[in-house]
Symmetry: C2
Subunit: 352 residues, 2 copies
């Protein structure tokens, strides 16, 4: 099976968005069908679709669906724009940390604003083209990220990754896993250690699934084992994705990433963040402004439906943490690699 081709993260057909339901992978393969924008918002909220780039793309298609239903109701272009503006605000609320969600919505609304004089049907066509462009650009950008990142990967490297920044987190190919894939495509012998990534086990469920089906050598570990492997000298580099990167390079990513970055510094192991420019929030000077989503406590207190701890115990379940730029060896983008990330270097990418 070519997983990525046969089981795409998402696809668009007859004005409907199909999302592979990532809550059930790898045990059950099922597509969730989104026929309305609230369907898309719920899918993002409930993590049917997750990964910063993938939720940005999904949100864009959500607005196309909303525009389509406005057209069906016979609304004017102006009303259509009003509807998608409201729907966009709802989509952005679905999850607070990944900036790609807002980025995708804003890009669509900007296009609508520019084309506000077109007839409604024409605007709808433009919106659909734009969502497809966002989707295709994402895959293209990931391939570029992969190519730039692969230069940082030595042959025979043991790579540690956390969570899933793979094809499933994006339109395809992946950011952190894009780097792994590109290095493999260049003929390098690579082995990946996969953090299982509690609480939702995206490493065990999604990254292991992707790498196994791609035939890339990989070993699953508990998050607790990462430090031990570094102490044993078994990790050559770490690469992760990001959900929001501040203008100075501070990067929010799945909870546990920060701990890995500290461990990497202690062991003098390169720590890389792979993400498209759409993950960079230029309005945010530094990471302290990033809102950290806190998710349902049952993600910690229960496994599947089964309580694993004593009833009544308090819990705390932050979904992300922030790694300061000073702990990041380089950010790998589609425009190239920013070593020792800092505000000026990041700003320069946007004008390049």
């Amino acid at each position: 099976m070519n997983r990525e081709k046969d089981l795409p993260t998402l696809y668009w057909k007859n004005h409907t968005l199909y999302l592979i339901d990532q809550r059930y992978l790898p045990g059950r393969i099922e597509y969730r069908i989104c026929r309305s924008c609230p369907d898309v918002a719920d899918s993002i909220k409930e993590m049917t679709v997750r990964g910063a780039p993938a939720i940005g793309i999904s949100a864009a298609f959500g607005l196309v669906i909303e525009a389509g239903s406005a057209l069906k109701s016979g609304l004017s272009t102006e009303k259509m724009i009003e509807k998608i503006t409201l729907a966009g605000a709802e989509l952005i609320k679905a999850r607070p940390t990944a900036v790609n969600l807002a980025w995708g919505v804003e890009r669509m609304l900007r296009l609508a604003a520019v084309n506000s004089k077109l007839p409604a049907q024409e605007l709808l066509n433009r919106l659909e083209e734009e969502a497809l462009a966002i989707y295709e650009e994402d895959v293209r950008n990931n391939r570029l990220i992969g190519r730039f990142g692969a230069e940082l990967v030595p042959d025979q490297a043991n790579i540690l990754t956390h969570c899933n920044a793979g094809a499933l987190a994006t339109g395809g190919y992946g950011t952190a896993l894009g780097v792994v894939r590109a290095a493999c495509e260049e003929g390098k012998q690579i082995h990946v250690y996969i953090d299982e990534t509690r609480p939702l086990l995206q490493g065990a469920r999604l990254t292991a699934f992707e790498l196994y089906h791609e035939g890339i050598a990989a070993t699953l570990i508990t998050d607790n084992a990462a430090g031990y492997l570094m102490a044993l000298g078994k990790i050559d580099l770490i690469v992760v994705g990001a959900d929001r990167i501040a203008a100075n390079g501070d990067a929010a990513n799945k909870i546990g990433t920060y701990g890995l970055a500290v461990l990497a510094r202690y062991h003098q192991i390169p720590f890389y963040v792979a993400a498209p420019l759409s993950t960079i929030d230029r309005d945010l000077a530094c990471g302290s402004g990033i809102v950290i989503e806190e998710r349902c406590l049952t993600e910690v207190t229960h496994l599947e439906q089964c309580r694993v701890t004593v009833a009544g115990i308090k819990a705390f379940n932050p979904a992300f943490d922030v790694t300061p730029a000073g702990l990041i060896s380089a950010i790998i983008t589609e425009k190239g690699v920013i070593r020792q990330p800092a505000a000026e270097k990041i700003a320069a990418l946007f004008t390049a």
Copy 2:
């Protein structure tokens, strides 16, 4: 409910060892009845009983059971000693990392050697007294560890702990949790963050259970969240137990402990190891000689009986890691606190 009193970790009655089955806590409360020494070995292997001191005590009782069955078979003192020597070797093999297991067995065999001229019934009595003494000493030592450790705990402290070094890991009271208990008994306001401790979730299942029933304020987190809490300034100190401490102070403990120690150093948070002298392996110069147990891979690939990752993926499941003495602010023992542990200071404790 007074959990520790009403539900002891283990008890000895009519030449039978009763072990609370820690695999099923807190969901199901069940005692496993050990009527033979292989029952005890299996209970250690399968982690019905776990925690370095608790398995040392259990092994001692295992040898009493073995001696009792030798007596029943009408064997001589000499044959009884032969039988318990063989049984002791089997017990030690049950788990490789915690030294208390070997310590308990050796202490019992030393006693047998000294009393090898006694009639078999008399030797059996002495062995039973010795096992009970090991048990009672452990609880007494834990109270001393608690008292010494409490001096290191400021009022209003937020304490992070990993795995379970509580009453359930010992004869009672606990080592790391003994420090927490003693600080609370002194009237200090304490709050504990509990690492859930993948893969077997001893934090979620056992530590949360103990602290909740004792009314000590506690919050359960994923292991991944520990670094984030430290970055937020929410952790004042870390205290953990140990399974084996080398002569120089390097300490093996549950996988993930080493990562916490590195994070503690980075954030300048005190990192304490609480353990009785029986956990110190004076024959081992440093931690690199400690055998790290690797456990069944289904602990990582499955939750309960359910596979969470793709079939066929490789996994790695070390149960412990080693924290070098240089990362340990102090080792808390029943003979006092060793700050900045080093070989001479540790050796001095044994002659004091």
